[in-house]
């Protein structure tokens, strides 16, 4: 395994450069900024190479210890695809940060940001349950620090709440992992997944609930997502964009890798988990609650950034509903929506960031008559909004289409769930269209506003990608179909690739 085409580089290189940034900083602050950009650029190109040169599924073994014993990184279709998306969005946000981050704290920000991206790609790549915890901690700590960034006081409040709740989450996760470790003696995901049914059902359910609740904090499901509104509004826009873009992907991946592969019963049209209560149904319940609460509380917000925070929480709920349906179509819709959401939501946050910096302000009333003041930003904002609503010709349409198709196909309780979700998305349509309507109002005469060039690049790229996905869904569709295949078929998709010799139980 020569050093160069080893997937571990995806985690190693950002970490390496993260800690060497202070050295570069000594030479010149400017260099530090460009180094972050270059490392994430490397990450993006390398994952692009893996994805498009179809280099997966491969496995990277640490120190030649075979999987059940040593740690391993497994890059299946899901991991390759998600890593690519994470690093691409990370790259675009880094470009935005070139402009957004002031001279003074470039170093501190770049260190944290690189650690954050490394941790996120780590979660997605790792094949070891404990490694997952470690990378979750890395992303967690860097995101608390990032959330506290920025001049405003509310950033500190938001970061503190995020710290408290997600530390509870990670402890719960750790307790769940230890319980399983005591029973099965191994930490490798594939091993546990294969031998999960040997554990006593009561203990298995208890461990499952602990893990799921731990991961639910990060994945913003209902009882655990108290921190979301304050952290997103408090953090500077670059950070909230990366939180809603990158952290969201890794969290959802972690939640459903555990729920579907580790605890999942293989076979049967719809994935359900071992143990007394079906964890997938539990997640579905939480997810629907999140959607409804997220949408309704977003309705009466006056501050656009807070509204975007609630809407991203609601969208995460929708994605979780998609995954929790359990059939290939549902997971396909979930992944597709996950990608669409991270693209659109990070773009919206970046636009709000630019607007605030240029002096337009965050409240809905400041958005009045924006069309006359700055057509580019208004157009991109409406493209992002329409994609979130699932209007045709934009990315969101296809993913919402498949989620509803899957849930109706499953029938039974899911008809009721999707009915609630559709009602909630009508509410969502209202508050998004309200902003768009305000923007197109032309009865207000306000000075013209110029968009700075550097942040305009990522916003433009994201907008073009939304419309491109809208017109040619195959771009994202093919990869999410393969990913859905891997997640729903636990045995054939994941375990046999990691440990070929294991006998199915």
């Amino acid at each position: 395994m020569n050093i160069f085409n080893n997937a571990a580089l995806l985690i190693g290189v950002p970490l390496l450069f993260a800690f060497s940034i202070p050295l570069f900083g000594l030479i010149s602050k400017e260099l530090a900024k460009w180094v972050t950009l270059l490392t994430i650029g490397f990450n993006a190109s390398f994952s692009f190479y893996i994805l498009f040169a179809h280099k997966y599924p491969t496995m990277v073994v640490m120190g030649n210890w075979l999987p059940p014993f040593g740690e391993n990184l497994y890059i299946g279709p899901v991991a390759a695809f998600l890593v690519f998306v994470i690093s691409m969005i990370g790259l675009l946000i880094a470009i935005y940060n070139l402009w957004a981050i002031k001279k003074g704290d470039v170093i501190r920000f770049s260190v944290l940001f690189l650690m954050f991206t490394a941790g996120a790609s780590g979660i997605v790549l790792t094949g070891d349950i404990f490694n997952l915890f470690i990378f979750m901690e890395i992303t967690g700590i860097s995101s608390y620090a990032l959330a506290a960034f920025g001049p405003e006081r509310r950033a500190l409040g938001g970061a503190f709440k995020f710290l408290v709740v997600s530390s509870i989450g990670s402890t719960l996760y750790l307790m769940g992992v230890t319980l399983i470790y005591t029973q099965l003696g191994t930490l490798n995901i594939a091993e546990i997944a294969a031998r999960i049914n040997q554990t006593t059902p009561g203990l298995l359910t208890f461990a499952g609930i602990l893990i799921i609740s731990g991961l639910a904090v990060e994945a913003e499901l209902f009882p655990f997502n108290g921190w979301v509104p304050d952290t997103y509004t408090g953090a500077i826009n670059g950070v909230s964009a990366s939180l809603s873009g990158i952290a969201a992907i890794s969290a959802v991946y972690a939640l459903f890798r555990i729920a579907m592969t580790v605890f999942g019963k293989s076979g049967g049209a719809y994935v359900s988990t071992y143990g007394k209560i079906d964890l997938m149904a539990l997640i579905a319940l939480l997810a629907t609650a999140t959607v409804i609460i997220g949408e309704l509380s977003a309705l009466s917000q006056k501050n656009v950034k807070k509204m975007l925070a609630y809407s991203s929480m609601a969208q995460m709920g929708l994605i979780a509903v998609g995954f929790s349906i359990g059939n290939k179509l549902g997971v396909y819709g979930g992944i597709f929506q996950l990608v669409n959401h991270s693209i659109a939501k990070s773009m919206l946050f970046l636009i709000v960031g630019v607007l605030v910096a240029v002096g337009v302000g965050e409240n809905i009333d400041d958005f009045k008559g924006l069309w006359k003041r700055n057509p580019f930003l208004t157009l991109t904002f409406s493209i992002g909004a329409f994609s979130m609503l699932g209007f045709p010709l934009f990315g969101g349409f296809w993913s919402k289409f498949s989620i509803v198709a899957a849930s109706v196909q499953r029938g039974g309780w899911y008809d009721f769930i999707i009915g609630l979700v559709l009602f909630a998305s009508v509410v969502e349509a209202f508050y998004y269209l309200r902003i768009v309507a305000y923007m197109f109002a032309s009865d207000v005469e306000l000075p013209k506003v110029k968009t700075p060039i550097t942040p305009a690049i990522p916003i433009f790229i994201l907008a073009v990608s939304i419309v491109a996905i809208g017109i040619f869904p195959q771009i994202v569709g093919t990869f999410s179909a393969q990913a859905a295949g891997e997640l729903t078929h636990k045995m054939s998709g994941y375990i046999l690739h990691v440990i070929p010799s294991i006998a199915a139980h």
């Binding site: 709440k161 408290v164 709740v165 509870i168 009561g202 359910t205 208890f206 499952g208 609930i209 799921i212 609740s213 904090v217 209902f222 009882p223 655990f224 108290g226 921190w227 509104p229 304050d230 209560i277 609460i293 309704l296 509380s297 977003a298 309705l299 009466s300 179509l329 396909y332 699932g390 209007f391 045709p392 010709l393 349409f397 296809w398 289409f401 498949s402 509803v404 198709a405 109706v408 196909q409 029938g411 008809d415 009915g419 559709l422 998305s425 009508v426 509410v427 349509a429 269209l433 768009v436 309507a437 305000y438 197109f440 109002a441 869904p473 195959q474 569709g477 179909a481 859905a484 295949g485």
Partner: protein, 621 residues
């Protein structure tokens, strides 16, 4: 397998892309819109019934066939909508109302797609595309906040409608496994005998969407606001063509009711059709009654549009050969005369700058061509013989009477005489009566507008006198839907069940008697023209009595006496239900907002409490 259907859909998309780029230059934008409409019309000539095309989209991990096929109904609808669209965009070349061309072209693409598609995915995609494009174009209306409010109200209704169709599409997909409309409708009609309630449930999911888009009785509350506050050149398209999408949708699902033998019948109709007929009739009456007391002229015609749609629905729901023919024929007539009325209104509003009837008046001297088009428009809207509105109204009555429905016929007559009343009110308040000093230098519509108005006048008279040109294609449609078409005679005939009318004869007798009248008029003593203020004021001298044309014009509270009769009906507010729903959501949203009280202890408590509940659940289960 011929690809010109696909060109029908893609030319408008390309056109709209070009128009979007050029939106800065107002005239170029409208020129591109008009030329795309014209090209689509030319393309239409190459599309024939029976052509079909399938395109495989690998999506959702498997191959989804997007199929198009062209039926009689779709050709008919395509011709009328694209032809009217071309006329409208030709008119809007010179109109200054803020209508964005690329949105109209997006709607045209969706329009071509809806009418030709045979699969649910394509239908839904086009329906949503047309939905949001029309929402954004309604935003561009003249006065800002009311058009924003109207656009949001319309957005909510149409999105809720499309989500209910979303649900219907996938329940059908689950049942039949295929997404093509024809197989699903055939499947539904096959199982309608066994368990009618199940079929009713699915079909009502679709019919809710179609009723919202067409603006039928329970879901009509968005219609007046959206039509009144949309940009003036968009309202003709909105009210003429887009309300017909709902009707087209209903026609797609009608063959089912053909098979409803199992259903208990009332008055010889399956009870579902009977209820639907009553919904149509109530829409017609409610529309007419509300139209009496409007002051905004576009709102008045909005109510008149949805009352005419009530006629169409009432006729279609009878599902007899006369009924369906009458329904489609009235859909065409309504498109023609309502389009003409709204175009002339756009001309008047662009000249006078206001759409309030109490501020207008006496424009007939200043805008003669618009005046005549408007006159022929309201004459044909009232169903007066030589013009095109008569044929379909006459057929609708024949259908209702043949179905032995006494109360419904009486209500429809009320609606049609009521129509005559509010049409005259609009005609008088806008064109006749005293002209205020403000409009002394109002000029006639520029030449482009006049050409369009002449064309519209000619169309209304031509299709009135020669209804055969429309009745023959409708006959083909009706027979393609499995009903016995009406016997079609020469082009001039409108053949009904009880008797038939040879319209050219009427126009000949009218022409002769007009000449006789005018001869008598000219041989008798000379008359001299006087100004508008020289009329009998019971001896009072106008100057002393500071009489101004505005105060002397009678158009405020035109039908005030009969308000008393309809007052009890106004108390039951239909949109109370929707307003109540909106308030409830707003209330719950502010209640739920309280959950996120911003301090960490509560969130931590939430997390732990959630965990404990789940653990107990796990332990108990």
């Amino acid at each position: 397998m011929n690809s010109n259907i696909i060109w029908l859909v893609f030319t408008p998309l390309i056109g709209s892309a070009i128009a979007a780029i050029l939106y800065r230059v107002k005239f170029l934008d409208r020129l591109v819109t008009f030329s795309t409409f014209a090209i689509t019309l030319l393309l239409l000539f190459s599309v024939h019934v029976g052509q079909s095309y399938t395109f495989n989209l690998n999506f959702m991990g498997k191959i989804i066939p997007l199929s198009w096929n062209v039926t009689h109904l779709s050709i008919f609808m395509l011709y009328i909508s694209v032809a009217f669209g071309t006329l409208l965009t030709f008119y809007s070349l010179m109109d200054k109302s803020r209508m964005k061309g690329f949105l109209l072209l997006l709607i045209l693409a969706a329009n071509n797609w809806i009418f030709t598609t045979n699969d649910m995915v394509g239908f839904f995609f086009a329906w949503e595309l047309m939905g949001w494009a029309s929402i954004v174009s309604v935003l561009g209306g003249r006065d800002e906040n009311s058009s924003r409010h109207a656009a949001l109200y319309y957005a909510m209704m149409s999105i809720a409608g499309s989500y209910s169709m979303f649900f219907g599409v996938f329940t059908l997909w689950k049942l039949t496994g295929s997404l093509s409309i024809s197989t699903n409708v055939a499947y539904l009609s096959s199982i309608v005998g066994m368990h009618p309630w199940w079929v009713l449930g699915i079909v009502s999911l679709f019919f809710v969407t179609f009723m919202i888009k067409a603006g039928i009785f329970p879901f009509h509350t968005w219609v007046p606001m959206a039509y009144a506050y949309a940009p003036d050149t968009f309202t003709p398209f909105l009210s003429g063509v887009m309300s017909k999408y709902g009707i087209y949708g209903m026609l797609l699902f009608l063959p089912i009711s053909l098979m409803e033998k199992g259903m208990p019948a009332a008055f010889g109709l399956p009870w579902v059709n009977y209820i639907f007929m009553w919904i149509g009739v109530t829409t017609a009456v409610v529309g007419t009654v509300l139209a009496f007391f409007q002051d905004d002229v576009k709102k008045l015609f909005a109510y008149s549009s949805f009352s005419n749609l009530g006629y169409i629905v009432a006729a279609i729901s009878l599902f007899s050969s006369v009924g369906v023919t009458a329904g489609i024929y009235h859909a065409f007539n309504h498109l023609l005369f309502k389009g003409a009325l709204f175009i002339t209104l756009a001309a008047v509003i662009s000249r006078t700058g206001t759409s309030k009837m109490s501020e207008m008046g006496g424009l007939w001297r200043k805008m003669p061509v618009t005046f005549f088009t408007f006159f022929i428009g309201i004459a044909s809207a009232a169903g007066i013989p030589p013009f095109n509105g008569f044929g379909s109204k006459w057929l609708i009555y024949q259908a209702m009477i043949k179905q032995h429905l006494p109360f419904a016929t009486v209500m429809l007559f009320l609606a049609s005489t009521g129509a005559f009343m509010y049409l005259f009110k609009a005609f008088h308040s806008v064109f006749l009566g005293q002209r205020s000093a403000r409009y002394d230098n109002v000029k006639e519509v520029p030449v482009v507008g006049q050409i369009v108005e002449y064309l519209l006048m000619f169309a209304m008279i031509f299709f009135g006198v020669q209804p055969g040109y429309i009745l023959k294609p409708i006959g083909a449609i009706v027979s393609s839907m499995g009903l016995k078409p009406l016997p079609t005679m020469a082009n001039g005939y409108v053949t009904g069940m009880f008797s038939n009318v040879y319209v050219p004869l009427i126009s000949w007798s009218l022409a002769i008697s007009f000449t006789v009248g005018f001869i008598l008029f000219f041989i008798s003593a000379k008359h001299k023209y006087v100004s508008q203020s020289d009329n009998y004021t019971a001896g009072q001298i106008p100057e002393e009595w500071n009489l101004t044309p505005e105060t002397y014009q009678f158009s405020w509270k035109f039908y005030e006496p009969i308000e008393g009769i309809f007052a009890p009906f106004f108390r039951i507010k239909i949109d109370g239900f929707f307003r109540g729903l909106a308030n409830w959501t707003a209330a719950t949203s502010s209640a739920i907002k309280e959950i996120f009280v911003s301090n960490a202890q509560i969130y931590a408590f939430f997390a732990v409490a959630g965990l404990i509940i789940f653990v107990i659940a796990g332990w108990v289960a």
